[in-house]
Subunit: 210 residues, 2 copies
DNA sequence: CGCAGAGTTGATAGGCTTCAATCCTCGTGG
DNA sequence: CCACGAGGATTGAAGCCTATCAACTCTGCG
């Protein structure tokens, strides 16, 4: 049934997909590429509050107005549904509603983990944490841990609550210490993931690190 | 039907209500008092990731293991339901599921707004933001803006990603500037709420400030 | 009265930001 | 084919905000 109302769209890198305050008529699933969720203060300071990778969902059933800016940072393909038919579908199929609640709870957990990072971690720990997150989401299973950074230094800074200079310095430091190996500007290999994880400052038992 | 499975319980200030990693058998609604949601790093640094005030919900349907510590910071009264019957109720009444999704989305929005605070705001802006939040939730409507701080300086520091000394200094500074008036250690009056809001750094148009 | 916990205030230090200059890298066009 | 340009990234120096360490004050209560 979803088949009937879905459409695919592709946007170039840098496209604003949604602007805070807009009326949102389309709910989407990110099929390919990478986008960011961000908020801006009065004087222009920006904080990224979410990173969207393939399989992530964009938009909220039951909410007309977008609370955040969403921007493509690589070429992005979306699979979109019009709001109304989708909301009807949810109302009729409790199972989908439950799944949506599950996803929202996961997002909430991720947001809270990120609050700990923003509030209490050092620059070094922040960078290590980001690398671990990206390793888990982008590195193919089973192989050596390797991935391409989908973010510029500026975007990383925005996500981590740092400046781009500090991000650059800390990445340089991690490379000097042999914790990561760089291939070109964006390629990252992690020779020993446990060593990287040890630098995140996270409590290694307490449940959340699934 | 909820009537049949609900029980009331009261806990003294300081009680740990839930410890991260625990199996949670009871879902609750906070009836009276104030509690905090917090996470702890390896070496003991603590970040509060949520503040629970009357009418807030504790626990997640469908999630057995608690991801956070929840602690009473004043005497607290909970209205609790056993997990199973409550989950059955949700499955049978889509309306409740929708309400739960609504509440979770609200929490997510609050968490993301807090990420901006933690990542980008100055100490001054953080304190001002907290005061505004507490004004909105604790000050009786229609009167002058006045409330009692439910948090110690340390708890505020934990919530704001600061130290308690910095919190104390900034509160002193706000009082010196006449933005707030203190009555005793905990009483706060805000003579001009707009002036306080102007100090939060928040963008005053873009949607989220409902 | 005196103690304990919460809060305030002061001095110092450190980590990150800011400002600035330079270096890469890659795509473009002469 | 290679020089050139522009945006991204790195590196350096200086300064500021907040943390840290420490002493002291206030308040309520046994």
């Amino acid at each position: 049934m979803l088949e009937k109302i879905k459409t695919y769209q592709t946007f170039p890198a840098g496209s604003p997909l949604i602007h805070a305050g807009d009326d949102v008529e389309l709910l989407s699933s990110l099929v390919e590429g990478c986008a960011t969720i961000s908020m801006t203060l009065e004087d222009g300071r920006v904080q990224m509050v979410g990173l969207l990778l393939p399989s992530d969902f964009i938009g909220r059933p039951g909410r007309q107005v977008a609370p955040y800016d969403i921007t493509a940072i690589s070429e992005v393909t979306l699979c979109s549904f019009r709001r109304r038919p989708f909301e009807v579908l949810i109302a009729e199929t409790p199972h989908i509603g439950q799944r949506l609640l599950e996803m929202t709870l996961d997002e909430l957990d991720a947001a809270r983990e990120w609050m700990v990072l923003l509030g209490r971690k050092t620059a070094r720990e922040k960078i290590a944490s980001l690398m671990v997150i990206l390793s888990k989401r982008l590195s193919p299973r089973g192989h050596d841990v390797h991935f391409e950074l989908p973010l510029t230094r500026e975007a990383m800074a925005s996500y981590l609550g740092l400046t781009l200079e500090t991000v650059s310095r800390q990445i340089t430091a991690l490379r000097r210490d042999g914790v990561i190996v760089q291939e070109g500007r964006r390629g990252i290999t992690v020779p020993d993931l446990d060593r990287l994880i040890a630098l995140t400052g996270d409590d290694t038992d307490g449940g959340l690190l699934a």
